[in-house]
């Protein structure tokens, strides 16, 4: 099946070469970081996790969203998702791959990575995150690839895939829950110390991930012969709509608890993010943009006429994706570290090398996504004959 990824149009080759070039540039910046140390990033003594860990957190959500296709299709026999499910699974593969790479580029001593296996420490949430992320990655590779090859051969999928598929559903929930537990179980970090962190992560994941899938299906339809059809897109649009509303609702719950109780250790992080603290306010415009675009998207999607218009739907999906990216990819991690435990405000702004390494990791993810989707499109075309 892999041979389908080896031949394609000029546009396809240009895309692949472009991504390879970005990977190369990112890799050079990473070598420099490896040589000099994480000092090339904008991280400091207070904000000890930055852009890398934030991207990891956001992409875990994108990866988890495959379950929004798998669950209706396999548990409720919702046939409309049949054509799309493998897209969701392969998106999960590339997203989890990026997650793992973002963790690795964030390590101070990456060559000691295997110490995590050598001295397994189940009391650390990171240990469990490693297990669920790797588990979810391999589950999706095995399931997606085997279901697709069965489709190619015109035979029903292998019987042993079923339990793996069912297993992948709790795994999808667990990757984002465990990732939220990395943060929400820390004493003295008031911004993260909330039981709604995991549900909020899941809600925004089930909004941003399917929104991205809708956009990807539009792109596939424009540049290939592969059209998933109207109905699954509309169902996904409803999922995006209610997941966005749910995540906004949980956000307002947090805002209420924080600002009505008026406990400073919980309030100050949100004050920093939305109004600035001690004259430091780098994230203020971003955070308001995030809330604004997410609310706009919720309104656009909840109105049936808006959802059914593909231009409006596309715009709303861009809003949801971008708004969630700001929320998790910029605000969530810095916001938890500012102010620091001694209530001092030291801001964090990512540096150019940091962003270049991140672009490199994203390029690896998109390259894998491109190759896998190319295989999917090839197989679907062949089957259609």
């Amino acid at each position: 099946m892999l041979e389908k990824a080896l031949s394609g149009s000029k546009l396809y080759y240009t895309l692949v070469l472009g991504l390879l070039a970005l990977i190369g540039i990112g890799f050079l910046f990473y070598l420099n970081q490896l040589n000099v140390g994480l000092g090339v990033t904008g991280m400091n003594r207070d904000v000890t996790w930055g852009f890398y860990i934030a991207q990891f957190t956001f992409l875990v959500g994108v990866a988890a969203s495959a379950v929004m296709l798998v669950l209706p299709y396999y548990l409720h026999d919702y046939k409309e998702f049949g054509k799309m499910t493998v897209l969701g699974e392969f998106l999960a593969v590339s997203a989890v791959l990026m997650c793992l790479l973002f963790i690795i580029v964030d390590l101070g001593q990456p060559q000691r990575l295997l110490n995590v296996l050598l001295y397994p420490s189940p009391q650390s949430v990171l240990f469990w995150d490693m297990i669920v992320l790797n588990g979810y990655l391999f589950l999706n590779i095995i399931i997606g690839w085997n279901v697709l090859s069965a489709e190619k051969e015109g035979v029903p999928p292998e019987f042993w895939l079923k339990p793996l598929i069912y297993l992948s559903i709790p795994f999808a929930v667990s990757i984002h829950t465990v990732t939220a537990f990395l943060y929400s179980g820390l004493p003295g970090r008031g911004f993260w110390l909330t039981a709604v962190l995991a549900p909020k992560f899941l809600a925004s994941a089930f909004a941003a991930g399917p929104a991205f899938l809708i956009l990807l299906s539009f792109i596939l339809r424009k540049f290939t012969n592969f059209d998933v059809g109207q109905k699954p897109i509309q169902t996904l649009a409803k999922i995006v709509c209610y997941a966005t509303i749910a995540s906004l609702f949980l956000f307002f719950c947090e805002i209420f608890v924080t600002f009505y109780s008026q406990i400073p250790e919980h309030m100050d992080h949100k004050i920093y993010l939305f109004f600035g603290l001690d004259g430091k306010s780098a994230l203020v415009p971003w955070m308001w943009t995030s809330v604004l675009v997410l609310m706009t998207a919720a309104v656009l999607l909840v109105i049936p006429a808006g959802r059914k218009n593909e231009y409006v739907l596309g715009l709303a999906c861009i809003f949801v994706f971008f708004g969630s990216w700001i929320d998790k990819g910029l605000g969530l991690i810095s916001g938890g570290f500012i102010p620091n435990p001694l209530h001092e405000v030291n801001e964090y702004i990512p540096t150019v090398p940091e962003v270049m390494v991140s672009i490199g990791v994203y390029a690896i993810g998109f390259l894998v996504l491109t190759l896998l989707f190319k295989v999917v499109v090839g197989v679907k075309e062949e089957v259609k004959g």
Partner: protein, 269 residues
């Protein structure tokens, strides 16, 4: 062709399950999570080594002066090869500190510091690792590179095991930990090297170790010696120790007691 690929995927699947189950089994084996080295101790303590069931410190803030603060930090950072990124390179982001003076309102953010004594308003007080009895940094470490020593409750680090994930820095509610964003030797932030203490590489976390290396030689922590009597060190479990007498005679508080970390550093206000 198709068949061999399928077989490969199958084998790959089984081996993943195998590795996963294996690491789980290792993970739940009844080893104490507090001890870092997995091998039995091969070295005996020196006869002069200072020992305690649980080391603790009392800081009498009434006796603290800015000169004492300065002396304590200087000697601590010198004997522990702590690089001076701020003073020598002006790199505030890469600052490394084990003990440092800070205003009362920052050390005790949970206290309403508006109406504290004039002395506390004027003088900064020293903060350092609290060597918590229930340390969150140890709980979150994915390699047990930071661990609580069972024999005396010190929270220590294995600089050669640390992978630099900085989970402990997020876990510590006191900001006691620092990260080596750069190699301290290459950058010129460390000029005099103390041969009796380990050097760190880039990419690992470090913090106060209550002078474990000095205790092993029978010496009190360097900051205590430099404190002019403002800092008292001793066994919290020994009712006859000087530190326990001080705590019995004075009302002392710990930082962020509400978090349940159970610090071993007490402050007499």
């Amino acid at each position: 062709m198709e068949n061999s690929r399928r077989r490969f995927l199958k084998i790959a699947g089984y081996s993943i399950i195998g590795v996963g189950a294996g690491s789980l089994l290792v993970g739940i084996s009844p080893k104490r999570i507090t001890a870092a080295p997995d091998a039995p101790p091969r070295y005996k303590d020196r006869p002069e080594a200072l020992k305690a069931a649980r080391w603790g410190m009392v800081i009498d803030t009434r006796k603290i002066t800015s000169r004492i603060n300065r002396n304590m930090q200087q000697v601590c950072h010198k004997i522990h090869n702590v690089p001076d990124f701020v003073g020598k390179l002006g790199a505030k982001n890469h600052e490394i500190k084990w003990i440092w003076p800070t205003p009362f309102k920052n050390a005790f953010i949970e206290q309403d510091a508006q109406f504290v004594s004039d002395h506390l308003k004027r003088t900064e007080i020293p903060v350092l690792c609290n060597h918590c009895n229930n340390p969150p940094c140890v709980r979150v470490c994915p390699t047990r590179a930071t661990f609580k020593r069972e024999s005396d409750g010190l929270v220590l680090m294995d600089f050669h095991r640390c992978i630099g994930c900085r989970f402990c820095m997020a876990g510590c509610p006191y900001g006691a930990r620092s990260f080596n964003y750069r190699d301290p030797r290459d950058s010129g932030a460390l000029t005099e090297i103390e041969e009796n203490f380990t050097l760190r590489t880039k990419g690992v976390v470090e913090k106060c170790n209550f002078c474990a290396e000095r205790l092993a030689r029978g010496e009190a922590p360097a900051c205590v010696e430099a404190s002019n009597g403002a800092l008292v060190f001793g066994d919290l479990e020994d009712p006859d120790s000087e530190i326990r007498k001080l705590l019995a005679e004075n009302y002392a508080i710990t930082r962020k007691a509400e978090l349940g970390t159970n610090p071993s550093v007490f402050y007499i206000i």
